[in-house]
Structure formats: structure tokens, C-alpha cells
Subunit: 213 residues, 2 copies
Amino acid sequence: MATRTAIIEQIYEDIRDKILKNEYTPGSKLSENSLSADYHCSRTPVREAIKRLEQDGFVTVLPQSGSYVKELTLKDYQHIAEVRTYLESLAFRLNCENEVDITPFSAILDAMDRCDMDNPNEVMTFSDLHFQFHLEMVKASGNEILLTTFNRLNLNTNSLLFYQRLSTQGKVQTQEEHRKILEFLEKRDATRGEKFMFAHLWRKRNAYKRSRV
Amino acid sequence: MATRTAIIEQIYEDIRDKILKNEYTPGSKLSENSLSADYHCSRTPVREAIKRLEQDGFVTVLPQSGSYVKELTLKDYQHIAEVRTYLESLAFRLNCENEVDITPFSAILDAMDRCDMDNPNEVMTFSDLHFQFHLEMVKASGNEILLTTFNRLNLNTNSLLFYQRLSTQGKVQTQEEHRKILEFLEKRDATRGEKFMFAHLWRKRNAYKRSRV
DNA sequence: AAGTTCAAACTAGCATACAAGTATCAGCAA
DNA sequence: TTGCTGATACTTGTATGCTAGTTTGAACTT
């Protein structure tokens, strides 16, 4: 049975995906009326979906006026990268403590290795898998609150965080780092592994910071 | 002008406060009908407030059945403490980078020093100031996303995190650590300061973990 | 022609009505 | 007495109507 309340969830995800895919561009308006027409439902579920999007930082609501897709600045990206760095460092530490199985992680890395970086489609796959890897790290931690916090962290950033290194060379370096992270995880070396994980992510943060000009 | 939409905000905060004050005990039901009667409004704003409470982890909504105040387990407290540790460590590092002024922090610590731990009221004040200190650390970082993330981190935990050390002895130790944190902050020693901040918070996390029996 | 004003149209906030799923409890059977 | 069943009352989910704030643009003034 698809529960009835799933309608809101569905609208939420659909709008969010369209924002992530840039079908709704930053600054564009999200009208309750037109959206309810699009989804063949009343304004109520649309309204609740928009409220959630606002909560999660995708949308800005101006009272009595309208809802607009939020524009993220480079500074926002930097801030998100900062928080992500720390959340994922925590995830790594917890995974060491819990002695998680690394085979699922290895599987993802293997799949990433098989991607041909001269094929745009596979570059996309590579990026998706890359995100999967990091998400899996958080999921495996067994800390639900950490996972929720991570998921809420405006995933707009995926594009910028992970669609960056497109070249075969970039792939090799990224993968080397990922393998090393897994090595530390296998050895349950929380201290050094966390340091490495931190550096892996913080570098990207610094890139945002520098590019502010 | 008090904007009209403030109604939802007001209901949200009121219910949240009542949950924090234990006026609504964990497991108890939050009926849209009775709440809308309490607040002399329709179900719509109440509904949106409850949806926000659900998002923020205070309430569990069972479809077509009802909303209930979430019961937090010791494990939840541990998980929250873990995430807080890392978020505040980040805050400390950013404050070092930004070379923030430490006087507001000192002021809070001074006020804490003046609390008489034999007077229950002042113990309460001490706890509030304690939370203020940590919140200020996050606010000063200038990372809005970090602040939002921190604020959402179910503040139920305050009671357990900060109402713990009630004795004069506990106060002294806590304050010593806080002063040391400020010293590191003043010296802009991100590396060692962050380590100390981490230890300061992680100890509490370990206390939760141990007490699981 | 440019700026201002005011009214009309549009937007979301809120109230209310109805639909549909869930829980409860009385009545019955074993 | 205990366990089951079914009807009823109650809950939230969704639709819709009305209100009030916001925006827009055309007419008017300067």
C-alpha cells in the first residue's frame, strides 16, 4: 500500500530533484497554485512540501508573496563543505569503533574504477557512485541523527563537490585517497584515518574559500 | 507589525518549550483538534507547527493516527552528543581562523563564576549560561548553516548535557576547562584548542555510551 | 516624459468541510 | 472468562472558500 501521506513526500522529492537538476533555477518562483495544478492536487500538500523545502534550505518563503528557489553563494558552498567535513569525520570514527564491514565500500570503489572518464555518461555514474561512497560512510555509522543531519545538508552541493574532477587523472587521485581511507578503516585506525578523511574533504572547502576572490 | 505567519512560529515554539519543560511528556499525544482549541485557531497552523516539530525530531507522526512526543533513548542522547562534539569542534576552528573577539565569551564565564551552586535557582542560571557559552561559540563562527544544523539538533539534550554537574566542585572543573578553551581561542591555536574542545565534549558522549549498561 | 498614486488582480494565510484510514468498545461466540 | 468481530466514533489527509497582504500596471499629475 502506498500510504496517502506519500503525496507530500513525492511532491517534496520531485521539486527538490528539479532544483538539483536545475530545472527550477535559483531565484525562480514556486507558486502554490501552478504547482497544485501540475500535480493534480490541492494547494494543501504542495504547501506542506514547500514548507519542508524551506526547512531544508532549498527555498525562501516571503510571507504573503511567494516562495523562491534559494540562490546559493560560494560562501554557502564553503559553509556546507565545512559541516560535511566534520560530519563525515565523525562517521569515519564511528565506523572504526563499530568495526564495520568494508566490502560494500570496496564494491563501490570497484564500480568507480570501471568508469570510463572519456564517456560523459560514465562520468555521471562515477559522480553518483562517489556520492554513494560518502553517503554509505554516514549510513554505516549507525547514528540516525548524524544521517538525518547529513541528508538535510543541502545536497545542491553534490554538483560542485563531486562533479569536479572529470579527468582520468583526477579519478586516479580520488580513488587512491578512497582506497587509503578504506585501509585505515580496515585497520580500525580512527585517529590517523580520521585525519586523512578530514584532509580529503577540507581541501575542497579550501578550494571554495580561495575562489571567493 | 507582527506578521501573520508568526502564528505557526509561536505555536511551534510553545509546543517545543512544553516538551522541553516536560509538560508534554514523551509518548503523549498531540491532537490537532485539541491544540487548535487551545490556541484558538484552526487545525491548519497547528498542523504546520507539528510538521516542523516532526522535522526537528521532537515528534513522531503516525499517518492517519496521531502525533506523539518522541521518546529519546540513551542511545539517541549519545548520538546527539556525538554530532554536537564535531559541530562545536568545527565552530572552534572557524573562530580561530576568524580571530573572533573573546570578550563576550569571557563575560559569560564570569557570570557563571558568580553563580552560587548551593542555590537551585542559580544552578539553573548556571546551566543556561553554560548552554549560552556553547551556543555563542557556534554563532560566532559566522557559518549560518552550522548554526541551523546545531539548533536543529534536538535541544532536549540540554537537560542531560548541561544540568549534570550541579556541585561546586563540578562547577570549578567545568569552568577550568572553559577558561582553557578560551586561552586556546585567544592564541588562535586551532589544532590544540580543537583537540581540547573535542575532549571536553566527547567525554560526555562516552558517559552516555557507558551508561547504556 | 517621468514620477506618483491608486485600484485591481494575484498571492499566500487561515478556516472549514469532507474523505478516508484507525482505534475503540460493545456484543457475541467459544 | 477470553477472544473475536463489526459498527461507530475519532483521527488525520486533502480540498476548497474566504480574507488580507503584496505586487503590478494603468491612469493621472507635474
